[in-house]
């Protein structure tokens, strides 16, 4: 028996729009390993839900192939794929009670009554709702969290080989969401079923996924584990979509081994960097070439204004987020005042909104990207509304 991985081979999906054709997927190729919890993450319209629906068979692909193990499942209709799916709206049947909702897939498979009973009871145990069956109400009478669990139970009860989750937590409130995502991970690990989890919430994907694919504009930007994606983003889209990053266009002045000297476009300051190979995300590393220096807010330092520094800025907003304090600072000596974000573990005493401050880089964990952005405009983030 071969390992049953899901393999996407150059998957293209075009929708006939009203005026023009919409290309939802522009040739996606990657592999999901058997038994892993894989997240598809990206802003709305990036193609992640389309890819999930193609995996389910609910959409036909325009070209390309999907393999499951060594079997080509591209043209197999959804009801023969043996897949479980949890929808964003849960899609519980309002005219059936909880038991019949969960038993649905077993009834379709014409399982005998005693097996249906046994399996439904067992799966309700697994999702942590053994008591609901006693009253056996209509699912509409239950809370959002309970409905969620029933939707998961219904998708798992007939032992599908793949579980698909389409933004399953989007309709729950924030606290329940955090609780349920731990539950989903627990249930997935207990059943060890290959699972694809679609979300637009990067925190959720980081927390739940074994691995994830970051999608944008119909293409996969990067695939990896959470840690890799946060600390080693391949490009500025990923860097900015996962967490927050400040970008500074610059020019390379000098390269000597791991020592780099760059000149910032913004104030023509020259700074020295010591970079490891994995911190460099551009192939175009030559003297006089343009690059982009990326620094996460926690990799920048905010100081009193009179200290020696790379930038001068003015504090616009201070947000105390509990674990950290986030400073939104507009850089001075620039027309529009480029905004950057700087995190500190504790508030800086004596600094309030409107004050002038000094900003420096922490020398570790900086990244170099290729690309060309205007230092005045900054990087345009599509995912921000």
């Amino acid at each position: 028996m071969s390992v049953k991985n899901i393999v996407y081979k150059n998957v293209v999906k075009k929708f006939a729009g009203k005026q023009e054709q919409v290309v939802a997927l522009k040739g996606v190729s990657f592999e999901i390993k058997q038994g892993e919890l894989f997240c598809l993450l990206g802003p709305s319209g990036c193609g992640k839900t389309t890819l999930l629906r193609i995996t389910a068979g609910l959409e036909k692909l325009t070209s390309g192939k999907i393999l499951y193990g060594d079997k080509d499942i591209t043209s197999i209709p959804p009801f023969r794929r043996n897949i479980g799916m949890v929808f964003q709206s849960f899609a519980l049947y309002p005219h059936l009670n909880v038991f019949e909702n969960v038993a649905y897939g077993l009834r379709v498979r014409k399982q005998p009554e005693e097996i249906v009973k046994k399996k439904v009871t067992a799966i309700m145990e697994l999702v942590g709702l053994p008591d609901v069956l006693r009253r056996n109400p209509s699912p509409t009478a239950l809370s959002g969290g309970q409905q969620q669990r029933i939707a998961i139970a219904r998708a798992l009860v007939y032992d599908p080989e793949i579980l698909l989750l389409d933004e399953p937590l989007a309709s729950l409130d924030a606290k329940l969401r955090r609780h349920m995502r731990a539950e989903i991970r627990r249930i997935q690990k207990a059943t060890n079923i290959t699972t694809i989890y679609v979300t637009h919430d990067q925190e959720e994907a980081m927390a739940i996924g074994d691995r994830m694919a970051i999608m944008n504009n119909g293409l996969v930007e990067q695939i990896g584990i959470s840690d890799q994606i946060y600390h080693q983003p391949e490009n500025i889209f990923v860097a900015n979509f996962i967490g927050k990053m400040n970008f500074f266009p610059a020019e390379i002045i000098e390269i000597q081994g791991n020592n780099y000297q760059i000149k910032l476009d913004y104030n023509k300051k020259i700074i020295d960097l010591y970079l490891q190979k994995e911190q460099i995300k551009t192939d175009d590393l030559k003297k006089n070439n343009k690059i982009i220096l990326g620094a996460r807010p926690e990799n920048m330092i905010i100081l009193q204004k009179d200290e020696e520094s790379t930038f001068k800025g003015r504090v616009q907003v201070i947000q105390n987020l509990g674990k950290i304090v986030r400073y939104e600072v507009s850089l001075l000596q620039i027309e529009k005042g480029k905004l950057i974000e700087v995190d500190r573990e504790r508030a800086l005493p004596g600094v309030k909104e409107g004050d002038e401050v000094a900003i420096n880089f922490k020398k570790e964990d900086l990244l170099l990207f290729s690309g060309n952005i205007d230092y005045k405009e900054g990087y345009k983030d599509d995912s921000d509304e």
């Binding site: 389910a56 043209s75 959804p78 964003q88 309002p94 379709v108 498979r109 219904r154 998708a155 698909l164």
Partner: protein
Amino acid sequence: MTVMNRLKSFIIDQVKKDYTAYLILLIPLLFLVIFLVWPLAISIGKAFVLKGQELALENFTLANFERFFTSSMYQRSLRNSFLISFAVVFFTLLIGVPMGYFVARVEMPFKKLILALGILPIITPAFVGAFSWVILLGRQGILRYAINKVLDIFGLSLPPIYGLFGIIFTMSLTYLPFVFLLSYGAFRSSNPLLEESAMIMGATHSRILRTITIPLILPSLGAAAILVFIRSIGNFGIPAVLGGNQYVLPTLIHFRVHGFWDLNGASAIAIISVSIVIIALAIQKKIVSAREYETISTATSEYKLHKHPLIKAIAIIYCILILLISLAPQITILIMSFFEKWTGYLPVGFTLDNYKIIPQIASKTIKNSFFLAVTASLLTALIGTLAAYITERRRPRGGILIDFTIMTPFVLPGIVVSVALLSAFSSEPINISGTFLIILIAFIVRRNPYVFRSVVATLTQLDEALEESSTISGASWFYTFRRITLPLILPGIISGTILTFATLLQELATTILLYSARTVTLPIQIYNTVAEGNFGIASSLSVLLMVTVFIMVYLMNIFFGDSSSSSFKLG
């Protein structure tokens, strides 16, 4: 070898796919093509040849249309139809919009009752309303008698209700509920925050009404106006009872078919009548789509109702007055049904004979009516549901065509459907004129939109993920349809079917050209009894019809709540 293998796997792939849906799609499609598209095509063709001639290119003539230029009867009919339809639209808007506003925005008691009574005129057969106005305002009308007593002092007199005035008057009252209910709905559902924000910005009440409220409900008023227009121009019963020598297009069609069996001439008139409707629809669409507003409110806040005593008094008096006038026919018929004569102030000769005689004279027609209405409703339910499901869920290429075809009878006056069916199926090789079958087909074609729209509305509200999740659980299309879709759209099917049944029971315009001695229905019998001048029996039969329809609609309201009465907007 590889070619054979590929072919084999291709065939297996095709077999594995689920084609049930496409096969079932054929049922409504075939029905519509055979019994709507084809008859309409024949009818249009016949309009361009003379009566008795072959449907062939060398016989092409415009003679059937020339009558609109040569015959004064044709010209007057056309003019009357125009005049009546526009007048009815004007008066229903003039009277109905204030009533809708008052009930929606003014604090007053018995709102539910007003709404319930307000709908009564639509579920009363229009021609019944017409003949009860004959009792009240006809040559020997009691109300006219009383009014003339007063007017006599000034040397004036009120003419009897026959003619254009009577038609416009009765039709306006009949179709008033459309405008009332639609504008009531619009006034209630538009977002109160819009008006409140205008008020905060300093706009006066009259300015808000002019710049916010009225523009927001314009689409609803447009819909109401076109509905009233289509119904007025297609109404046969009212001008047939009250018209006298004033013909309109539907009565002219009836005259051509009944008097001369001239289907060719009738088709030509039908084409003119339908063209007017289409032009009106196009104009309405142009006006309304230029101002497409979202009137459905997501805000939970409610309108503050007017509480000023003066406004309240005006609103209450206005509503009661309009209700009294528009319910006068129902009350009159009810009283009349228990008396022999009613020519003076009071009816004379209390009797139950009008009812006792029903089993003897009407048992056959009642049976006919129920048989036709029940059978047609059930078949309509089947065809309408399938068609709705397929256009809404499968979205086949050309789905818009199905949608269009099904909704066509909605703009076709009932009598036009009959003309089309007679054109196609009243001569060899297929002659089914005078049978139950042709009435049945006409009923189904004409009322398909009810179930169709009702089911489409239910389906659009139904989360498609429910069906998708069933498919993914391993269910075939048919299993999903049976276990998930059907149970969930059943309320939509049932309310559409009851509505169909209730309207078919009182259908006159379609049956008037299609019935034979064997297939007389209750509305036809009432119509003929009125023509004979036997108002007592006509009244008792009408009461029977009205009570049956009322019970159906009432039951529907109980089971499916408020929203179902709004299905009457469908027309």
